[in-house]
């Protein structure tokens, strides 16, 4: 939908899994939920997080697909693998830095969040963001998101790989990007 962006704020998640249950009601992949939901560490915390596909600007999954089955459309949505081409080799599953694609064994195909294409292509909001009771997943206009204390970012660093995405992650104010590099946390700094 024009003018709307997808924002993910794990700190708001209450672990109700409404997104997981609603996702499998969406027409493009009815019966299979495409949400990646985690209990961070239930023995230590009640923290949970739900993620959707980040629809990267330069999707790693598509780049590594040997069958040229994963396509990114002009609207920026990275689609699930094309049925005639996908060979379920799992290359994309290993390659995605966020761990999003799933292989559905009975279809021998990779499927993942496609931003509820059957809904967003006709002006409706994605199912997960519509039902999320805490709006940890939300699909709103940028002028609505500025009311929050957290700030959106869409730049991620995974080691040497810089990934920019269409979906935004809400981060504490002052953080411009999200980094997942162990050297950030080490006492001795690795060479650049």
């Amino acid at each position: 939908m024009f003018g709307y962006e997808f924002y993910v704020d794990p700190s708001r998640c209450i672990g109700c899994q409404s997104c997981v249950k609603a996702c499998e009601e969406c027409e493009t992949h009815r019966g299979h939920s495409m949400i990646n939901f985690d209990f961070i560490d239930r023995s230590e915390t009640i923290g949970t997080a739900a993620f959707v596909c980040w629809h990267c600007d330069d999707p790693t999954c598509a780049q590594v697909c040997p069958a040229d089955a994963i396509k990114k459309g002009e609207d920026g949505i990275v689609q699930s693998a094309l049925k005639p081409r996908c060979i379920a080799c799992s290359n994309c599953v290993y390659a995605c830095p966020f761990g999003i694609p799933k292989i559905i064994p009975e279809y021998e195909q990779m499927m993942k969040c496609d931003m509820c294409y059957d809904r967003t292509s006709v002006g409706k909001r994605p199912m997960c963001a519509t039902v999320c009771p805490s709006q940890a997943l939300s699909y709103v206009r940028p002028e609505d998101i500025v009311r929050r204390r957290e700030k959106p970012t869409n730049v991620f660093y995974f080691g040497n790989q810089r990934v920019t995405t269409q979906v935004y992650m809400m981060t504490p104010p002052g953080a411009d990007s999200v980094t997942a590099d162990i050297t950030e946390f080490m006492w001795e700094k690795a060479d650049a």
Binding site: D57, D58, P59, Q63, C65, D68, K71, K72, E74
Partner: protein, 164 residues
């Protein structure tokens, strides 16, 4: 998206916008329409040949009797300029004329006095001097004959047989 992309990345782009991708449907459509066009074209040609009126041949003097010796050859253009014909005086009072375009691949045929026949130098197609039928070689159709009429001193070309 990235600089210096190898060709294979360009050809098999992951971005739908850059895809030069012909779908099976598109190919099938193209073939069907192409075939249909060909078929229509053929029908048109067929129709054209059925509906064609008989061509009108003008009578024209093309030579004088005695202009060429016996066994001699005269080239003339009939029925229109650019359409070469060849006339041969086979006997004292016998003149024959044919289209000079070999019916195989349109080379110019010549008269062989030695063999008393019309020969095509390109692929050795030989035609009878009597009626233009094929004696040997690749041509499958006889040379069209120019029908001549004697009017006093003049040799008049009247029409072509078969009609061209």
């Amino acid at each position: 998206m990235r600089e210096h992309e190898p060709l294979w990345r360009e050809e098999f782009s992951i971005f739908k916008a850059n895809e030069r991708y012909v779908s099976r449907r598109q190919l099938a459509k193209f073939l069907t329409l192409g075939s249909a066009a060909m078929f229509a074209g053929n029908l048109w040609i067929l129709a054209r040949s059925w509906l064609r009126k008989a061509p009108h041949y003008a009578r024209r003097a093309v030579a004088r009797a005695g202009e060429i010796p016996v066994g001699g050859v005269k080239l003339f253009q009939y029925p229109n300029p650019g359409e070469q014909c060849i006339m041969v005086r086979t006997a004292e009072d016998t003149y024959v004329a044919y289209s000079q375009k070999c019916t195989h691949l349109s080379c110019a045929v010549y008269y062989s006095r030695e063999h008393d026949r019309l020969e095509c130098p390109c692929h050795q197609g030989y035609f009878s001097i009597l009626d233009g039928s094929v004696l040997q070689g690749p041509p499958t159709r006889p040379l069209p004959k120019v029908v001549l009429e004697r009017q006093g001193d003049q040799l008049i070309a009247v029409k072509m047989e078969p009609e061209v």
